[in-house]
């Protein structure tokens, strides 16, 4: 079913990670990425792994979700591994056959890169698992707030994102329904040549476009009726407040970052 693809993959919950301020989480995610890339060796990376696993445990997201977030990037991971194994030429020779040369340094780099990518994806997907898409957009709008000074349309962009996010599940559901309705009339969507397949999509795309336009129209009218006039002077229903939990989160991250740097220096 199409509906099983949840965009943003928000996983509602009530853990400390869920309750943190979205702005803080967003910034800490960026800090986490910097931390990952400043780790120089396997030891530093192990600190990052520990950090990721700890947060995953605190957020009480089912571990199976970790794997799910990795699925789409599996090919990327594989290619990275292969490239490093086959193309790193220095270090001690482990295996040689015709033009294929595998060295211990190659293997090391491959492992390092793969672990780093996995950590990156798993760690940053925690942000979308524990924060609703709307909160993330809100946080982005707040963090980009200063750019308003230079006439950058921060509010408008955030509004566009919010609306898009709001309608993605609706449209997915709608697509599901239309597909079912056309199947009930005997359409076969996945057979035939390419042109036949494209033609087979028309009974789905045309109603889908028609309904998107209808919804856009309705939404525009509804917004106008509520006197929406852009970001100027608008107040918010949900105020974002950073609290003790967030301070704690920052300290927690800082400790691990310090550990990574310490490990870097020690293993030099």
């Amino acid at each position: 079913m199409l509906k099983d693809i949840t965009i943003g993959q928000f996983f509602p919950g009530s853990s400390a990670v869920h309750k943190m301020d979205a702005r803080v989480k967003l910034v800490l995610t960026i800090v986490f990425i910097v931390m990952l890339f400043s780790a120089k060796g396997m030891a530093g990376l192990c600190v990052c792994i520990a950090f990721t696993l700890l947060i995953f445990a605190i957020s009480r997201i089912p571990p199976a979700m970790m794997l799910k977030s990795l699925k789409p990037i599996a090919p990327l991971v594989l290619i990275t591994a292969l490239l490093n194994i086959f193309f790193v030429k220095d270090g001690d020779k482990l295996f040689e056959w015709k033009f294929i040369l595998i060295t211990d340094k190659g293997i090391d780099t491959a492992v390092f890169m793969v672990v780093r990518i996995i950590c990156l994806i798993v760690g940053s997907s925690l942000l979308t698992y524990t924060t609703s898409p709307i909160d993330i957009t809100d946080a982005i709008e707040r963090l980009l707030g200063p750019l308003k000074r230079v006439k950058f349309p921060v509010h408008e962009l955030a509004m566009i994102m919010t609306i898009a996010l709001r309608f993605i599940p609706t449209l997915i559901e709608e697509t599901d329904k239309i597909i079912s309705a056309q199947k009930a009339r005997g359409s076969e969507l996945d057979t035939g040549t390419l042109t036949e397949k494209v033609k087979g999509m028309l009974p789905i795309f045309i109603p889908l476009f028609a309904s998107s336009f209808r919804r856009a129209d309705e939404l525009a009218v509804a917004m106008e009726c509520r006197c929406y006039h852009g970001g100027e002077g608008r107040t918010r229903m949900k105020q974002m407040k950073a609290g003790r939990r967030d301070v704690f989160g920052c300290i927690f991250t800082a400790v691990f970052f310090a550990a990574v740097i310490a490990v870097n220096i020690l293993t030099k």
Binding site: P12, E174, I178, A181, A184, R185, G186, L202
Partner: protein, 287 residues
Amino acid sequence: MSIIKTEQLTYIYGENTPFRKVAVDNVSIDIERGEAVGIIGHTGSGKSTLIQHFNGLLKPSAGRVLIDGEDINADKKKLRQARFKIGLVFQYPEYQLFEETVYKDIAYGPKNMGLSDEQTDMRVREAAELVGLDDKLLDRSPFELSGGQKRRAAIAGVIAMQPQALILDEPASGLDPQGRERIFDIIKRYREEKNSAVIVVSHSMEDIAGFADRILVMDKGSVFCFDTPPRVFSRAQQLEQIGLSVPQVTKIFMKLRKMGFDLPDDVYTVKYAERILKERLGGQEKV
């Protein structure tokens, strides 16, 4: 043999996610050929999910669906046959119209069945006539029609496939009383002309009371009861407990019974009520 039969049918949305939801729970029912069945239940009681099993759009999480005695999920060919034997009209079917003209849209189903052009043409015209769409309208774009016309054009698209069972999910929702009546007339006529079973899903008792041979009442994914209208409505109080509003007349008769009048408990149409009252009032004209 029954046209549709389910055996311990269960369907679960989002298995292995935190959003897991048992939408249909152990449903075993039989629908006879040519029967008129009403399916009612509170919103979210699993009506739409249930009917999507009848033509194989959803695969049971457990249990079986038999059409004409054959398990439709056994192989692909059976599934495709089931799609044509059982016609399913979704809620708000007008949102699925897509062709350039109404004619082409109605012809979409018959074409997919592999019928010849002449046969298709006959079916389209017959279906359009049945739902009351003028020949003139057939060459228009479906997007130019009025709401009620669009709805009828979409229904014609399924009727043109001449299914042995026509299923409609809330066919009258969002229409005015006249439009509603018109839709139910179409359904009744299709049943009479083709001797086909018709199954209508609704959350309004009033819509269904007058036309169904049997009523399937769903509650939280399970069958609450599946019986003739008088038997179903005699349990009016329980129906109200599961969030269904019974027809106005039934309510009045319930009150009268509470006040101590000796009246039957299965009154669900105004006609029947009128007859009973006339009888009880002992020939005194005009109630």
